[in-house]
């Protein structure tokens, strides 16, 4: 696969490299992303087991299938497009267990112009 844009691939590669996601603690299941371009449908299979994440390109059975245009998904993973609003517009379709993509979207960034410098500076909760 040699797509012209690599945003989506970078996102999934990054996810695969991290292996474990604290924000997916307690979440188990598989989500398949079917992303359509003019020529084909691209598959990303994300296997989550209590926060541990594995990513592959198989078109295997999943607990939930998310379908969207690849172009749109590129903007989803950069935070430009909000997932929930896209689902409500029917631009992103969900088949299967709705709780899984709801958990998954925690990993997506917010809009760039909302980013905050202090986002990571005060871990721990102590004032």
């Amino acid at each position: 696969m040699d797509e012209q844009t690599d945003t989506t691939r970078e996102f999934f590669d990054g996810l695969a490299a991290r292996r474990s996601e604290p924000l997916l603690h307690g979440v188990t299941g598989t989500i398949r992303f079917d992303l359509t371009t003019d020529e084909a449908v691209e598959h990303w299979l994300v296997h989550i087991r209590d926060g541990d994440v594995k990513v592959s390109r198989r078109k295997a059975k999943a607990d939930c299938v998310v379908t969207a245009d690849r172009d749109l998904f590129d903007r989803v993973v950069t935070g430009e497009v909000n997932t929930v609003a896209a689902v409500l517009r029917n631009e992103l379709r969900i088949d299967g267990q709705a709780a899984l993509p709801l958990a998954f979207q925690r990993l997506l960034p917010g809009p760039a112009d909302s980013a905050r410098d202090d986002a990571t500076s005060d871990e721990g909760g102590a004032r």
Partner: protein, 701 residues
């Protein structure tokens, strides 16, 4: 809403019609068939031979089912009504109406029966604000079904309308050529299915609807059977309790992410959706009665907890959502409700509910499951809740266009003011927020120590809580008034109006004892206490208005937490007095407490005046009688046991609550009168009650 409108609902699907069963909505009129925050029918008008029908009566069967008895003809004189018409309608995975025409005459009749239909597909926000549509409408007839539709981009919303009897279908409705024999009847089933995409064949089959419908009936029976029973000589309390149980059942809805579990939505018709604050408060009120609501609320809110920064939605890591919506304006980001996070109290209250839930149920599993979310919420309080950097939780909206100015429960524009009526700047640190933050830390510490096994974190939280309490009692105390200020403004000045918020401080436990005593004097004094309940804003304050939304009205929900607060500090008689006032007011609303009623003095109007445009039933008003039962009986979990320490309102003989669910299994609680019978009749009359003894003697005689 006007009282002659008839409403039925299931989850976020509901129908509002006139007393004939007809819908003739306009863009700004709240009638119609609504689902997922969208109006799927704006016109639904029945005629027979071109004539509208007249209502004889409406029979509310269940919250999801009703029946209209009608006769043809205009005007109010029913001359020679040879026909009667029954519309029996239900919400069960769509809208269904069984239309029956009875011929009472000795002659057969031939009739043209017509149902006119149309839909404007208005977003609920548009109905509220009367806005223009941006997409395009379409309609088609397909396989004998009329399909009305609306398209904007890739978003399509359709209403599928069909009948079981043979009909002529055109773009504007269905027509039936009906022949009814002498003393015979004719009937058809009309169906309207709101659809986002092509309807699944499965959903069009009648068996499917029957299955959904009987599930709902069984569900309601089970719900009532599982709830504790109330026995009392206070007849109205029993009626109010039954009303609350059924309304709470109706207000439940099941989010798609939690199939099989339901949580309370905020209210009908505008608020049939998830609200952080309302769902949490209602779950707290209902804990002794339906603890599962709390578990679903906690899970659903945890699933949607903020993880990033988004100024439009006011999302922040750890923040608990304010409101979720599904309509077109949310979809196209003209409103931020996907979800919107503009509430500052929901996040600490999430931790409060988690702890209170465990104290009642002993469900340590959920506390462990939600440990990361609870920690993130506790972290949010200090990291992002403190907008001024002065050690207090405060708010200032990031979304200047469509965000909420006041992000506390009193969210109308003029709810936060100085004594003289001046409106302060932002950020605003309202006092109850400090109470919730304090309580969240104390309760978070308990969870950390006993369940998360993190005593270090518990110590930190307790130190922070003690520090917050000390500073709060110093900085918020209005010396010349003897109460806590409503808020601190952007410069740390005391926003010194006297309000009901001080009652919430008792509930949270942040008030020092001596200061609490002075607050109780105010809460029960004539400036705040109307005789029915505690006003949101005290009489005599600059912005006081007995019919102002948050500036003088009495809110049953507010009062239920104030009563809990009074109990917490040992003011049992005062708590009972507040409970008696509000529950007595319910008599005037057929047992269903409204969102708010006017703050007029009880002796002035004799009856509580309903706030003009309030929404009903509203979840936290529905939950208020439940919490009052808890406070009157003094129910408090302690370890594995339930403590019962009753103090009933004067003149009430007894209240029993049977089969209270919790970590103890099921237990009963009994409360008996606290004074001699001889004093009873006078006070009973004061409360508008028949003395128990006299009535019973009368019956036997």
């Amino acid at each position: 809403m006007s009282d002659d409108l008839v409403k039925i609902l299931d989850g976020n699907t509901f129908v509002v019609s006139d007393s004939r069963g007809d819908i003739e909505a306009t863009m700004s009129d709240p009638t119609g068939l609504f689902s997922w925050d969208t109006r799927f029918l704006s016109r639904w008008v029945l005629t027979i031979d071109g004539q509208r029908l007249n209502p004889l009566s409406v029979d509310d069967l269940q919250y999801f089912e009703t029946r209209f008895f009608l006769v043809p003809g205009t005007g109010t004189v029913y001359v020679d009504a040879k026909l009667s018409v029954i519309r029996r309608r239900a919400i069960a995975d769509g809208f269904h109406e069984q239309l029956t025409i009875l011929n009472h005459d000795a002659e057969p009749v031939d009739l043209q029966v017509r149902v006119d239909v149309a839909s404007d597909f208005a977003d609920l926000f548009e109905v509220k604000d009367a806005l223009e549509k941006k997409g395009e409408y379409f309609r088609r007839v397909q396989d004998g079904r009329l399909i009305l539709g609306y398209r904007r981009g890739s978003d399509t919303r359709e209403s599928w309308i069909w009948a079981s009897a043979k009909a002529t279908v055109d773009d504007d409705g269905l027509t039936f050529a009906v022949h009814v024999e002498p003393h015979g009847e004719w009937t058809t089933e009309l169906h309207v299915a709101p659809a986002r995409t092509e309807l699944a064949e499965r959903e069009l089959r009648p068996q499917h609807r029957t299955a959904v419908r009987s599930d709902m009936e069984r569900g309601l029976e089970r719900w009532r059977a599982q709830a504790p029973r109330v026995e009392t000589d206070w007849e109205w309390l029993r009626i109010v309790y039954e009303r609350s149980l059924v309304d709470l059942a109706a207000l439940r809805f099941s989010p798609m992410s939690l199939p099989g579990h339901s949580l309370p939505a905020a209210g009908l018709p505008w608020f049939m959706t998830m609200f952080g604050r309302d769902s949490i408060f209602t779950s707290l009120q209902a804990l002794p009665f339906a603890p599962d609501l709390a578990a679903s609320t906690l899970r659903a809110l945890a699933q949607r907890q903020g993880t990033r920064f988004d100024d439009f939605r006011e999302e922040e890591p750890g923040r608990i959502l304010h409101e979720m919506r599904f309509g077109e304006m949310t979809a196209f980001e003209e409103r931020p409700h996907s979800p919107y996070f503009g509430a500052v109290d929901a996040t600490p209250l999430f931790v409060v509910l988690l702890d209170e839930y465990e104290r009642w149920t002993g469900d340590r599993g959920l506390v462990r499951e939600l440990e990361p979310e609870a920690r993130a919420a506790l972290h949010w309080i200090d990291a992002y809740g403190d907008r001024s950097g002065n050690g207090y939780v405060s708010y200032k909206r990031r979304n200047e266009e469509t965000g909420l100015e006041n992000q506390c429960w009193k969210d109308s524009w003029d709810s936060i003011s100085f004594r003289d009526g001046t409106i302060p700047g932002f950020p605003r640190a309202t006092c109850e927020l400090q109470g919730y933050a304090y309580d969240a830390k104390i309760r978070g510490a308990r969870l950390a120590r006993t369940i998360w096994k993190d005593p270090g974190f518990a110590d930190v939280l307790e130190r922070q809580a003690a520090d917050l309490k000390r500073r709060f009692n110093r900085d918020f105390w209005v010396e010349d008034g003897g109460y806590f200020a409503l808020a601190l403004d952007e410069e740390g000045r005391q926003v010194d109006a006297l309000t009901s918020n001080i009652g919430h401080l008792l509930w949270s436990g942040i008030a020092q004892r001596a200061k609490a005593r002075e607050c109780v004097r105010h809460l029960m004094g004539s400036r705040l206490f109307s005789g029915w309940g505690v006003r949101t804003l005290a009489e005599g304050q600059g912005r006081y208005n007995p019919i102002g939304y948050h500036v003088g009205t009495v809110w049953p929900f507010d009062n239920s937490f104030i009563a809990w607060g009074l109990r917490r500090y040992g003011y049992k008689a005062e708590a009972a007095r507040v409970a008696a006032g509000i529950l007595d007011a319910a008599r005037f609303f057929l047992g269903r407490l409204p969102e708010a009623f006017a703050g007029y003095e009880r002796t002035e109007t004799k009856y509580p005046v309903e706030y003009p445009t309030s929404c009903s039933p509203q979840a936290w008003s529905t939950g208020a009688p439940l919490l009052f039962l808890r406070t009157m009986l003094g129910l408090e979990p302690q370890g594995e046991h339930l403590i019962v320490d009753p103090m009933l309102p004067k003149g009430i003989g007894f209240i029993q609550l049977l089969d209270i669910p919790g970590r103890w299994g099921r237990v009963d609680a009994f409360g008996r009168e606290r004074m001699g019978r001889e004093a009873y009749p006078r006070i009973g009359r004061e409360l508008g009650l028949q003395p128990y003894g006299e009535r019973r003697r009368g019956k036997r005689a």
